[in-house]
């Protein structure tokens, strides 16, 4: 099979890239060893968060937020997004100082999306919160969506514009042929002018195959979800100094996360829930919302995600090989960024340059450390 651009990984990053390429008339094939959204993109918590991003990510995240606010015009589906804000709650004075410093830093970069709110406004926003909190950092434009729906919408729109998605196609080896690529897979050999590695937790393996290694670690992140409850909280809740990420979805269920890691056997992709960590999480939730103590957890799961040592992704052209591109290592927060990553990669591939600076995300940043 031959195509202009071959994309490895049918997660949101791959689907978003395919969509932007297809919109610009470029032919592309997205291959996945499993099925679209089988991994992080289908399993994530759906948080759309600009709040508390690494400074390097702020411009991208703000641009992505604009796209999410208009998502229907892009993919013909609202992806079930809600913009109810995201909060980081302060439980004491020290927390509050930390958050104030953060807000000042973001303002000094010229951005206004993170604001401090006091106790009174916090309890107006979240009346159900345990009374001990003192204030919060708030981003009103943040919210959440439904990941698998978003992925399906991106994929279907890309397909309608000619992009091809092929499941059960695992890449075994990659060879540079002149300035193009030969990629051997479980379903035959693909030839392409350009190659994009957005293989999530496996992108390190693919980068090795491209002769352009990067220090990616795959980890399995856990989430749990409860039964449906009457609506009681709007914003997505985080805490200044405790592991908490917690939201009530449209259908009333609560999704509880907080960057907790499950046991992972990477070779077999088997994950095992670490209940003692989730127990801590459950305790944190009950500390903040004591009235939730009898709410039943119906399911817990873990999804495999790629992490970089500095917790920001690798985005850009390969420095070692021709017409090779990377977008991986989103370190647990790539769902929100995905629409803009597609734009960036399409520009990079078709124009050779990008509107937004991606200097901080270069794969070569790790060479210096070595």
């Amino acid at each position: 099979m031959k195509t202009e651009v071959l994309i490895i990984g049918a997660g949101l990053i791959g689907a978003s890239t395919a969509l932007q390429l297809a919109m610009r008339g470029c032919s592309c094939i997205v291959i996945d060893k499993d099925s679209p959204g089988r991994h992080a993109s289908g399993a994530n918590a759906g948080g759309l968060r600009q709040l508390n991003r690494d400074p390097a990510e702020i411009p991208l995240s703000v641009a992505a937020a604009k796209m999410w606010h208009n998502i229907e015009s892009l993919v013909d589906s609202d992806c079930d997004v809600r913009f109810s804000g995201q909060l980081r709650v302060a439980e004491n004075k020290a927390d509050m100082e930390k958050l104030e410093q953060r807000a000042a830093m973001v303002r000094s970069m010229g951005y206004q999306h993170e604001e401090i709110i006091g106790k009174k406004e916090l309890y107006q926003l979240v009346p159900a919160l345990s009374p001990h909190c003192v204030g919060a950092l708030l981003c009103r434009g943040d919210g959440y969506g439904r990941p698998y729906h978003a992925l399906t919408a991106f994929r279907r729109k890309a397909e309608s514009l000619g992009a091809i998605f092929q499941s059960n196609t695992e890449v075994y080896s990659i060879e540079q042929l002149g300035e193009g690529w030969e990629v051997r897979t479980s379903q035959g050999t693909f030839y392409s002018d350009s190659l994009v590695n957005c293989a999530g937790g496996w992108a390190g393996k693919l980068a090795d195959m491209m002769q352009d290694p990067a220090p990616l670690t795959a980890k399995a992140l856990m989430l749990m979800v409860t039964e449906r409850l009457p609506h009681f909280v709007d914003p997505v809740m985080g805490a200044a100094s405790r592991k908490l990420s917690f939201k009530q979805m449209q259908n009333g269920t609560l999704i509880i996360g907080g960057a907790l890691v499950a046991k992972l056997d990477f070779a077999t992709e088997k994950t095992e829930i670490d209940w003692s960590q989730l127990a801590q999480s459950a305790k944190t939730v009950v500390d903040f919302f004591p009235q939730l103590k009898d709410v039943r957890i119906v399911r817990a799961w873990a999804g495999i995600e790629g992490f970089m040592p500095d917790n920001i992704p690798v985005i850009g052209a390969s420095q070692q090989v021709k017409n090779g591109y990377h977008a991986f290592g989103f370190s647990a927060h790539g769902f929100q960024l995905s629409p803009v990553i597609g734009v960036i990669l399409a520009q990079l591939i078709l124009d050779g340059k990008t509107e937004l600076s991606i200097e901080d995300f270069s794969i070569s940043r790790f060479d210096k450390q070595a």
């Binding site: 959204g37 039964e227 003692s276 127990a279 459950a282 103590k293 957890i297 119906v298 817990a300 799961w301």
Partner: protein, 465 residues
């Protein structure tokens, strides 16, 4: 409760009790966990407390449980009732809930004897108040003698439906009709299996006696019923049962419809651990793959009883003992020769108990129309209220895999976690793709196996520090 046992047995039905007696005779540390308040499992529910009169009605098969329960009580196995197991991992860590507190324990060997559940079969109106599973009715009767005060329509298929009808008749419950959905073609399919079944003629005789008694009592039985449909009154409660029989539409007014469509293995724990499963075509269900000792694909995790594949209560007792012997052997307590020697009679019994099964499985097979080709408005996932039509749309949009259908439609994501709809969805997905169910994947099982409150989970952080 200790933090570690050589053998942990989940389930105190015939399989669990027999295994526990066998294993604890050799002095190993052995714990039996069961969410019920007392021993007996499904068949021998309330066996230690049942009044004599009720025991009589429940029949001689039921009374057999007394001796088993007694032997278990006299054994050294530690018994923990009211203990719900909500998680099991491949390295044999068990998450449980006891006295409102969670705890994680470990075991060298884990024997899962968690029995069977009634096969959920969606049909129009199955979620209405007034429609319930026959098993739930039997549970009420066994444990507290409660029976329907007004008349009941029984519908479905399988020996347990007949048994319940007979038990109800004994205590004077009005049975308005028995609607048997097994098509007449099943009888032909079953005929070649009859000679072997005759080797276990006591089961056949019992079935015939039940049928005769019901007929004598004037109970109308209709065989080959189709298009079963329950309809509600203005209060959204069951009012009428509609069905087709011999080419004609019929209906019966009733406030209570009890259905039963056979039983299937309880596989949530084996799934949680990651054991391999296979589609059993004859029993129309998934079951954990296992060898003749009950070893699953995961080392040190064993299955026996109806949870390993439906073979009935007697067989459960024998396979329980075999798994108990295997656990002792794996623990290094008895030799291979000793295990094999002690297993000879048990294995004979297992084989004998198997005689009747192919016949029963063919005779009571649920017709494909009820399993896969549901009308588009029929609710399949009752937790999330997802219809057959919505599932078929999701099949088209995804690439036709149960798990993708789940993500897209939310079926199987509600409070019961697909325990009710997994089979129906698998049938619909396979049917929509023109494939056999065996070629399609099952919902990935997600723990906890049973719902757990935030506070109950949080209690783990105090318990296991």
């Amino acid at each position: 409760m200790k933090n570690h046992y050589q053998l942990v047995i989940v389930g105190a039905g015939p399989a669990g009790l027999a295994a526990a007696v066998t294993a604890s005779e050799q002095g190993i540390s052995c714990a039996v966990l069961d969410e019920q308040a007392a021993v007996g499992g499904q068949i021998y529910r309330a066996i230690e407390s049942v009044p004599e009169q009720r025991a009589k009605v429940l029949g001689t098969e039921y009374q057999r449980g007394t001796a088993l329960a007694k032997a278990f009580r006299e054994s050294k196995a530690e018994y923990f009732p009211n203990t719900k197991v909500w998680s099991l991992t491949a390295d044999k860590q068990i998450g449980l809930l006891h006295d409102g507190k969670s705890k994680l324990i470990t075991a060298d060997q884990v024997l899962l004897v968690s029995g069977a559940i009634e096969r959920p079969v969606p049909f129009p109106g199955w979620t209405l108040p007034g429609v319930m599973q026959a098993g739930a009715g039997q549970i009420l009767f066994k444990s507290s003698g409660v029976v329907p005060s007004e008349g009941v329509v029984l519908a479905g298929s399988g020996p347990l439906l007949l048994l319940l009808a007979w038990q109800y008749m004994q205590v004077g419950v009005e049975i308005k009709a028995m609607l048997d959905v097994t098509p007449l073609s099943n009888h032909l399919q079953a005929m070649p299996k009859l000679p072997r079944a005759l080797l276990a003629h006591h089961y056949l005789t019992k079935g015939l006696v039940y049928q005769r008694d019901l007929k004598r009592a004037g109970v109308v039985t209709k065989i080959g019923v189709s298009d079963l449909r329950a309809e509600a009154d203005e209060n959204d409660e069951l009012q009428t049962v509609h069905y087709r029989h011999l080419g004609r539409e019929h209906s019966i007014e009733t406030g209570l419809l009890m259905t039963h469509f056979g039983i299937i293995p309880h596989i949530w724990l084996t799934q949680a651990a990651g054991c391999k499963h296979q589609w059993d075509k004859s029993q129309q269900c998934w079951r954990p793959s296992h060898d003749k000792w009950g070893n699953t694909s995961l080392q040190g995790i064993l299955v026996a009883g109806d949870g390993a594949g439906i073979n009935g209560a007697r067989s459960a007792e024998h396979t329980g003992r075999l798994a108990g012997l295997q656990a002792l052997y794996a623990l290094g307590v008895i030799s291979e020769a000793e295990r094999d020697k002690q297993s000879i009679t048990e294995r004979k019994w297992v084989k004998a108990e198997r005689h009747i099964r192919p016949f029963l499985e063919a005779y009571f097979a649920i017709p494909q129309e009820m399993l896969a080709t549901h009308a588009k408005d029929t609710i399949i996932c009752r937790c999330e209220e997802i219809t057959a039509g919505e599932i078929r749309t999701a099949v088209e949009q995804s690439h036709g895999d149960s798990n993708q259908v789940k993500y897209l439609s939310r079926c199987g994501m509600g409070a019961c976690q697909g325990r009710q709809c997994a089979n129906a969805v698998a049938h619909i997905v396979a049917d929509a793709g023109g494939l056999a169910v065996s070629e399609k994947s099952h919902f990935r099982g997600r723990p906890p196996v049973a719902p757990l409150s935030l506070q109950e989970l949080a209690s783990l952080s105090e318990e296991n520090v």
